[in-house]
Symmetry: C2
Subunit: 326 residues, 2 copies
Amino acid sequence: MAVVKRALITGGAGFIGSNLADRLVADGVEVVLYDNLSRGRLEFVQELRADRGAEFVRGDVLDEELLRHSLKGCDTVFHFAANADVRHGLEHPRQDLEQNTVATSVVLEAMRAAGVTRVAFASTGSIYGEPEIFPTPETCPFPVQTSLYGASKLAGEGMIQAYCHGYGFTGIIFRFVSILGERYSHGHVFDFFRSLREDPSRLQVLGDGRQEKSYLYVGDCVAAMLIAMGQPHEPGDVHIYNLGTEETIVVDESIATIVGHLGVAPEVEYTGGIRGWPGDSPFILLDTRRIRALGWQPTVSIGDAIARTLDWLEEHPFVLEERAVA
Amino acid sequence: MAVVKRALITGGAGFIGSNLADRLVADGVEVVLYDNLSRGRLEFVQELRADRGAEFVRGDVLDEELLRHSLKGCDTVFHFAANADVRHGLEHPRQDLEQNTVATSVVLEAMRAAGVTRVAFASTGSIYGEPEIFPTPETCPFPVQTSLYGASKLAGEGMIQAYCHGYGFTGIIFRFVSILGERYSHGHVFDFFRSLREDPSRLQVLGDGRQEKSYLYVGDCVAAMLIAMGQPHEPGDVHIYNLGTEETIVVDESIATIVGHLGVAPEVEYTGGIRGWPGDSPFILLDTRRIRALGWQPTVSIGDAIARTLDWLEEHPFVLEERAVA
């Protein structure tokens, strides 16, 4: 990680961003946490700010001037701020466009103005839509998008790639499966946990309970990213990595794990259909040979990742409270 | 073409849009030509408006209210308005974002509000970046973008696909090679023609003259689109077609054709490099088996398409004049 001396993390107070920040600071990297706190939490970065010298800027990724100013002295941007609400994308189709696509353009322009040319990007396995090849490799056949979220991340990837080719940027793109672990604050484990706390007698499940997906523990995710960042990179390079486990879990198994962990016995109701919602992918399993070839492998199983997530949620009930979102 | 009764064409006064409009009107389709005239030309649609009942709306694709209003009674949108200036993308990186990506979102939202759910989209072979497979099929390995133009069209495709999956839209996406023919008003034949008119003694060529590309005559392009539109389509369907010839031409051959046609003998200077500009693809040849399987084939060779383009430019010198672009 010698190559990263000072990094700005958009979404630095978010789930993955703050976990990444912990590791970067531990490795001696100067970190600027840039977050508008719409989904990020000051609690996640309190210690980093108070005791470990991380700088916090409350700012929006659409604010190019503030971004440019905040980028002074940085050599790398981890662009992790996003609207990650895949499920409700169809209710507000402009959110993905603005907060993901346009925001990525603003970040890239701020970088160009500030002379910062290395960008790591939190993309998603959702950009594979509903692929025909499993596990799905980075070079799978040109996919068709099935969600606005996936489309917006695809747009972000495309712009980053064009900035690499055209302006000599270096792009490191991570296509994640769903991530679990400490500070996890949205997704199906979160929804099930909250629902069962409110009413342990019943649980509504979107879809038929048969969706099968890979998940990754946040600590393993951060470790993979640091290994990828430590590779040699040239201006113009685009490096794309799937990040996930070789395991999958079916929603019903996931429910059994959660129910067992919480010691409850709800009646489970299914809304039906092979997808939890339009744009939900019935099967997600990414080919991770590319990142594994660099020596990485996950250390936490999906079952253990769910358990750690539940333990953390129990210890941090404040994340269960609804907040007004900007 | 029974399925299309009334269509709105964004970019309807542009090169491809106005040629498409001619054919649609001839086939009895009611046509609304929607164009802000930044690149389109009233001259291209004068006859359509005056004698053949086409409606013209001077409007911008970012004006959702006007678009929505103009969509009344339409069953199909041909979204052809775009910033098609691939070469200068790096000089103004926000243009592709605004005029292609954001504009496509505005068009889709206007359609959703107006209850119009069939969209044909002018995409581009540029979204294949620098592929490794030639001819390049629609299902080639997930490409890496090399131009902001390609990235912006990729973003447009992705949103259309997500609207198909999420809102039951039908999307017909055309990935064009460069198009030649009547009303052609930008691109290398245009640039060479204008330059040789001004000074027949010399010609500056971007790159090494060895770039090899497929081109398609606009009449063949329009014919292919009408065949594709006439296929059975269900809500939610996404149909993607490469449009091009099986021929290619090398820039130097293209110059020889132009020089021969004009009867001039310039000294040719090369700027050098395998690409004409950053983001230019050294080799473009698309696999068109998918559209050919519907019974289409091109009728005009690249050489003849260049000749027709030159003839048309000679007869319509007004397109050579520089205009202030909005």
